[in-house]
């Protein structure tokens, strides 16, 4: 009872009866889910199960897909993100995103990180220097790029590019970080580094991560949500989901019987 109360008070994002269609195809069906603050929530499930759609709905990046239609509600800190008074760019500033494929801009390392703050009006050189360093440190990549700040970011390795993208997201001081399979394009060593980084980031940020890697979900997440064909089948603490899932389909998936 106590634990439940605590979780409720810490909820940062909560969805209710969230449905998403792409034309006639329903990608999410009545998803109701509360996501606690300063924790790592993993979204798992086979390809096409709706987990990425769910993730991209949370900062309304799904708006970019013209055929997408959404019903239901998503509350971020008790504000309806679909309400007409919600400024989408403001929402995305608070709910940042890291993509599957590292996608630094074709600019210098420095300009990549400074992009967000500059866009939001920070002009002072000293302030920007400070933000860039802090963000790169926060993404555990400062030591590797401190001498390369003026070099084109596309010259970095894939793992470095992804951590740069995380630094770029941190630079606008978000509240929540959405990560869409952030390590699926990376080698094992880079993956380990990013996982360690995500665990560190939990101190200050709420992280929601889509992953195809069961081990990864088990290693880093506090809560796990299993999606199947647009349904949120089971959601709970990662330990319980992976040890004693209550739904047969969850068990089948995590033991590798399908997907």
């Amino acid at each position: 009872m106590n634990a439940e109360d605590k979780q409720k008070s810490d909820t940062i994002i909560s969805t209710k009866d969230l449905n998403v269609w792409y034309d006639d195809f329903q990608a999410l069906i009545d998803v109701t889910m509360d996501i606690p603050e300063k924790s790592i929530t993993a979204l798992i499930g086979p390809s096409g199960c709706g987990k990425s759609t769910f993730l991209r709905t949370l900062n309304r990046m799904n708006d970019l897909i013209e055929s997408a239609k959404t019903t239901g509600s998503v509350l971020y800190r008790d504000q309806d993100i679909f309400h007409s008074s919600m400024e989408v760019s403001e929402l995305r500033r608070h709910i940042g995103m890291v993509f599957q494929k590292p996608n630094p801009f074709p600019m210098s390392v420095y300009d990549n990180v400074a992009y967000g703050p500059r866009t939001h009006g920070t002009k002072s050189r000293a302030k920007l220097d400070d933000i860039v360093e802090r963000s790169l440190r926060g993404a555990a990549i400062w030591d590797e790029v401190r001498d390369k700040l003026r070099q084109n970011a596309l010259g970095l390795s894939g793992g470095q590019q992804q951590r740069l993208c995380i630094a770029r997201a941190l630079a606008v001081q978000p509240d929540v970080l959405l990560m869409d399979e952030p390590t699926s394009a990376l080698d094992p060593i880079s993956t380990t580094k990013i996982e360690e980084l995500i665990l560190q980031l939990k101190e200050n940020y709420t992280i929601i991560i889509v992953t195809h890697n069961m081990q990864q979900a088990l290693r880093i997440s506090d809560g796990t949500a299993f999606f199947l064909l647009g349904d949120l089948v089971e959601y709970g603490s990662t330990d319980i989901i992976f040890s004693t899932p209550s739904d047969k389909r969850t068990e089948d998936y995590i033991t590798g019987r399908f997907g």
């Binding site: 990046m61 929402l91 500033r93 996608n103 801009f105 992009y115 967000g116 997201a169």
Partner: protein, 301 residues
Amino acid sequence: MTRKKQNTMQENIKRKRVERIIHGIFLMLGLITVGCVLLITIYLVVSGIPAMRTIGLKEFLLGRKWASTAAEPKYGILPFILTSIYGTSGAILLGVPVGFFAAVYIAKIAKGKIKWLLQSAVGMLAGVPSVVYGLVGMMVLVPWIRKLFKVPDGSGLLASIIVLAVMILPSIIKVSVTALEAVPPEYEEASLALGATPIETYFRVSVPSARSGIAAAVVLGVGRAIGEAMAVMMVAGNAPNMPSLFESVRFLTTAVASEMSYSSGLQRQALFSIALVLYFFIMLINAALNFFLKRGNVKKL
């Protein structure tokens, strides 16, 4: 060795020979282009140099007076050079902003029917023959300038600039749209996800990523403008004055075109020299274009 095997070997040799012959034919066809360029270059240099020698290079390029049929002829082409440069710059100054923003709109903002409408309009504008541009300029634009600015004659540099600006729009728009559409959507997504608005994203991410293509588009526009003869001939007035917005002017192209039919002797040779100067400008522009296109390729890798 069996007979069959021998046959296949012969067959192979024959095939290789056919391959080689076809290869040779294609090479020859390709060389025709190179041959044409070489021929034109050599012809222009050979026939353009003598007049420059006779007149004197400085006198020719920097002379402010062109009077080829006077009793004491003068062959100074500075008015033509400056008119071509001013006219082209003016057209770029007017055409590039319009073309650039139109390209951003078409490539990034316009959707559905509006996008289709704009794109077909640009395509049609590209297909309008230059004599039609000249005709409309002459019948509509020139009288309009005359009335609006209260000048005795509306034809001149301003009319030419406006006609040229419209004429270069399609090349600028088409090439810029292609460059903007080639920007990886991941860049734009990353920007939007950082809380940038769509407009901020287009100008801070998409345009900078497409800049070498857009630069190539501008250079292409410069090339079209400086090489255009027919349309400007109809609206420029064609008197060899030093360039001035409301006065009759002559471009490098129209200088050649307007006198060629009745020229002779040194006058004719001087016209070849003008063509050589024009050719030199075009070569410069081509070099610039190649530079931008190459840089674009390197960046994509």
